[in-house]
Symmetry: C2
Subunit: 87 residues, 2 copies
């Protein structure tokens, strides 16, 4: 699950903690939620969506604004984190 | 309410629309909401809070990440927009 370095893992977990506010702990949304789950989704798919939000290619309510603040490396780290979570 | 130019006003309204997702339409939250209202708050106060979120000086669940994507001019425009809203 991501690089072995505990410091880097801690950093990724704090990045991913922001997402939990809407996407649920470790990206597991409650059934029936209008917010999509992230846990166990393919990392490439997650990165692609974040880039699409960031470029405005994919319309959003808040994701376009949230995505602006992440660089490519952070997007990849977040995507890998949620891809590794159990559904 | 902001500059007279309709184009600029439209732009500010679309900026402020993102905030409505959590802060309610025109920044009026429902009673008892854990999210603070924005409507009619002093513009300086709103700008100060956004800069504090952006710098990390004020901890937040998502506001720190949202604020990263706004420049100073956008922060001032958003603050003026909500300050002008009826409580």
């Amino acid at each position: 699950q991501g690089s072995g370095d505990p410091q880097a893992q801690l950093q990724v977990r704090s990045l991913a903690a922001t997402c939990a506010n809407c996407h649920g702990t470790d990206g597991r949304t409650v059934p029936g939620s209008s917010v999509p789950p992230l846990a166990g989704m393919p990392a490439d798919y997650l990165s692609e969506q974040m880039r699409a939000f960031k470029s405005g290619q994919r319309p959003a309510t808040v994701m376009h604004q949230l995505a602006k603040g992440y660089n490519d490396q952070q997007i990849a780290q977040i995507a890998a984190y949620f891809a590794a979570q159990k559904k």
